[in-house]
């Protein structure tokens, strides 16, 4: 299997490496279905969840993943990141290094923080980017790809990519690390990516992005007939910065509601990384529909993160020994 040093960006993954990780995640998922959901693989390894930003969901997902692999887990919650606000990223990293962390899962409000940590020389352990500012969130992209693959191929998922699968990502693309990582990984896996958003919430120059851009959600649903629609969380402070006029207008034009559910194919996935703003980007009817994969995504998140930690931290050990 291809061994990674760090997972900082979805772009770090070749097609083979990505499929390999998804396949390991399938194995991990089967572990998660057992009565005793635990493997001895990372016994004696220490994983630090270094969270400079609150995210209970992502943290407990990584925590559970590490614990199921028998790693020792430390949660380090450090609010306020910059030099002016207290201890610097450098000092925190060097502290963890002194304590002997084998893997550091970092969530930070600054884009590039995971990259900086991995390339600074401050720390030798493997770095997993659990979300850096408005840049990337690669394990989210992996769990989304895993979820799509499972829904489309079921038990026959192993070894498959997402060639020709049409995925629409809808909402605040500009500020979304979920969108950036998904765009990269979906392209790597051969999917066709569509971005749907108000022009204010798209990059001013997205010419470097391999995706089709739409402003009209209904039009996209009619013409593209996507296999999966990924709704992004909208942060309400964006409204005050004039990205859109009101919640009502946003929900009407770019929210996923019962009417749009009717435009979705029966087998199409309706995805959301959570936490959802019900009634804003997604209505209750849509969120609770059979198309919705929200809870599957949560469950799959643990399997995918187990696969990532396994790949980064287990050394030469083969997945066949699991």
């Amino acid at each position: 299997m291809s061994q990674l040093n760090h997972l900082l960006s979805a772009a770090d993954l070749s097609r083979d490496a990505a499929i390999n990780l998804l396949d390991i995640a399938e194995t991990m998922a089967s572990v998660n279905d057992r009565e005793i959901k635990k493997l001895p693989t990372l016994r004696g390894k220490t994983v630090v969840n270094l969270f400079f930003e609150d995210s209970t969901r992502t943290r407990i997902s990584f925590e559970l993943a590490a614990k199921r692999l028998s790693a020792d887990v430390i949660n380090f919650s450090a609010k306020g990141s910059s030099v002016s606000k207290g201890e610097s990223l450098k000092d925190t990293a060097q502290t963890l290094e002194a304590m002997g962390a084998d893997g550091v899962v970092i969530r930070h409000s600054a884009s590039g923080a995971a990259y900086t940590l991995a390339h600074s020389g401050w720390i030798n352990g493997s770095i997993v980017n659990a979300g850096d500012g408005t840049h990337e969130h690669p394990t989210q992209a992996l769990l989304d790809a895993f979820t799509i693959r499972r829904r489309l191929h079921g038990a026959a998922s192993t070894g498959k990519a997402l060639d020709g699968v049409k995925v629409a990502i809808v909402g605040d693309v500009l500020h979304s690390r979920v969108a950036r990582s998904n765009l990269l990984l979906l392209n790597t896996l051969g999917a066709e990516v569509h971005l749907v958003a108000p022009p204010t919430l798209l990059p001013a120059d997205a010419s470097g992005w391999n995706a089709q851009i739409h402003y009209d959600l209904d039009g996209m649903l009619h013409t593209v007939k996507p296999d999966a629609v990924m709704m992004l969380r909208v942060q309400l402070e964006r409204m005050n910065a004039a990205y859109f006029p009101s919640e009502r207008e946003y929900a009407r034009v770019w929210g996923f509601n019962a009417d749009r559910l009717a435009l979705l194919g029966e087998k199409a996935l309706l995805m959301h990384p959570g936490p959802m703003n019900r009634g804003l980007e997604i209505s209750a009817a849509a969120a609770d529909s059979p198309n919705s994969t929200v809870l599957e995504q949560v469950a799959n998140g643990v399997s995918v993160r187990m696969a990532v930690l396994f790949n980064l931290l287990s050394g030469e050990r083969s997945i066949d020994n699991v």
């Binding site: 030099v83 610097s88 590039g112 900086t116 500012g133 840049h135 690390r177 990059p203």
Partner: protein, 440 residues
């Protein structure tokens, strides 16, 4: 009184000749020099090109207030290492240089250091806050004789205040040097808005935020008939606006930094904050437009925007890092590569953009003088044959984005008012003693 005979020196790229320096002045040039300089110390300048001592219109010396980054002494030593004989010290110190007292303090620190003329820049508004005009006339009338006024680091974004500042400085032949940055369009901005910022997820600093202010300011300068200087112009669009304004006869001058002539936003992909600067590094197309404008005269000068920061302000995540990079020890080499080594221009233009023009804009009559008998002996001597590692050794800070690059046009000697502040590649231990008659 020390006398030096510079032997076989090319004056601004011309055929080799001799230059006799006596005390603070150039005493003779050509065959006269050798004849009258029999007792002078001979400096073999074979292969070297002499240009008038370089003048920087945009330097952050950080003193008073931020001495951990730089002091007037270390900053002017860095200037001497880079061939400069005069620097304009920006006003964003602590306290801000917005009173006669502070500008006189900076000016006298420069005099005491003795490595270059230090011309303080006065703040346009009190505390750089953009609300109330600072006492510009008091600074102009002080011993520092301030002629350049700037809120650099911040933009005078209020159009009425900018108009008044432009009008007011006419009384003492001053100039307003604008840091063109529309504040609302750049809230939280981290790097150039474009393809790279979209990928990196860093908040964009759009070109239009610079261009819209420049467009407004040239119109204001034209309307009130005053002098406007545009700091660190960084986009192709800004070049077009300045070109248009000059064609209309508006009294506008513009500067470009060495880093905007050489580096692009692609470097941000490393998330290495040494490349974080304001205005940000732009695209290759912008770099080409800036170079062309520098050569064709649309851009008048190269100014360093030398902005030292301590390691802790750069050794961190990108968004927490300070804006700014070093430049004093690199500018001469970047200019050499862009103008001379490229074959695109000539030494005369080099001397204009690094010495004559900035001295003229800053109204420093004792700087940027032609290399003829009677001029003050401010001279940079450059080796056009050797390439060197782009190191910066004299600044107190090390935020040098050129590290790892090799550049041409090394400054071998710097002569400041007849005194070698740099000789054979080494900066002098002590500065020129202005109280003595002259010389080393």
């Amino acid at each position: 009184m020390s006398n030096y005979l510079l032997k076989n020196v090319s004056l601004v790229g011309q055929a080799p000749t001799d230059v006799l320096i006596s005390g603070e002045h150039i005493f003779a040039v050509g065959s006269d020099a050798a004849k009258q300089g029999a007792s002078a110390e001979v400096i073999d300048c074979t292969g070297l090109v002499a240009v008038p001592g370089l003048v920087d219109l945009h330097t952050h010396l950080r003193e008073p207030g931020f001495e951990a980054s730089e002091t007037v002494l270390t900053g002017t030593r860095s200037a001497a290492a880079g061939g400069f004989t005069a620097v304009h010290a920006m006003a964003n110190t602590s306290p801000v240089a917005d009173t006669a007292g502070v500008v006189e303090q900076v000016w006298s620190l420069g005099l005491a250091a003795g490595f270059a003329d230090v011309a303080p820049v006065g703040a346009v508004t009190v505390g750089l806050e953009g609300k109330q005009l600072a006492e510009l006339a008091a600074m102009a009338d002080s011993r520092a004789q301030v002629r350049v006024f700037s809120d650099d680091g911040k933009c005078v974004s209020d159009p009425l205040l900018m108009r008044r500042a432009l009008e007011y400085v006419k009384a003492f032949d001053g100039v307003v040097a604008q840091h063109a940055q529309e504040p609302r369009l750049t809230e939280g901005a981290q790097m150039n808005e474009g393809v790279v910022s979209a990928e990196l997820g860093l908040a964009g600093w759009p070109a239009v935020a610079e261009e819209s202010i420049i467009a407004r300011d040239v119109l204001l300068a034209g309307h009130v008939g005053s002098r406007l200087h545009v700091c660190h112009l960084s986009t192709a669009g800004s070049v077009e606006i300045v070109r248009w304004a000059k064609a209309r006869g508006i009294n506008v001058t513009a500067e470009v930094t060495p880093h905007h002539l050489l580096l692009t936003d692609e470097l941000a992909r490393s998330y290495d904050a040494v490349y974080k600067v304001n205005p940000p590094l732009r695209t290759q197309a912008d770099v080409f437009a800036l170079r062309e404008a520098l050569i064709d005269g649309t851009i008048d000068i190269i100014a360093t925007d030398h902005a030292p920061h301590p390691d802790e302000s750069k050794d961190c995540e990108w968004s927490a890092a300070a804006f700014g990079m070093l430049g004093l020890e690199i500018a001469a080499s970047v200019a050499f590569d862009v103008l001379i080594d490229s074959g695109a221009s000539h030494w005369q233009r080099y001397a204009e953009v690094l010495s004559h023009n900035p001295a003229q804009i800053g109204r420093l009559s004792q700087q940027g003088q032609p290399l003829v008998a009677g001029s003050i002996a401010n001279i940079a001597l450059i080796d056009p044959t050797k390439r060197r590692d782009a190191v910066s050794t004299e600044s107190k800070s090390s935020n040098n984005p050129y590290l790892g690059l090799t550049l041409g046009g090394e400054v071998v000697h710097t002569i400041y008012r007849g005194y070698f502040t740099k000789r054979d590649g080494s900066v002098a231990a002590v500065g020129r003693d202005h109280t003595a008659k002259a010389g080393n």
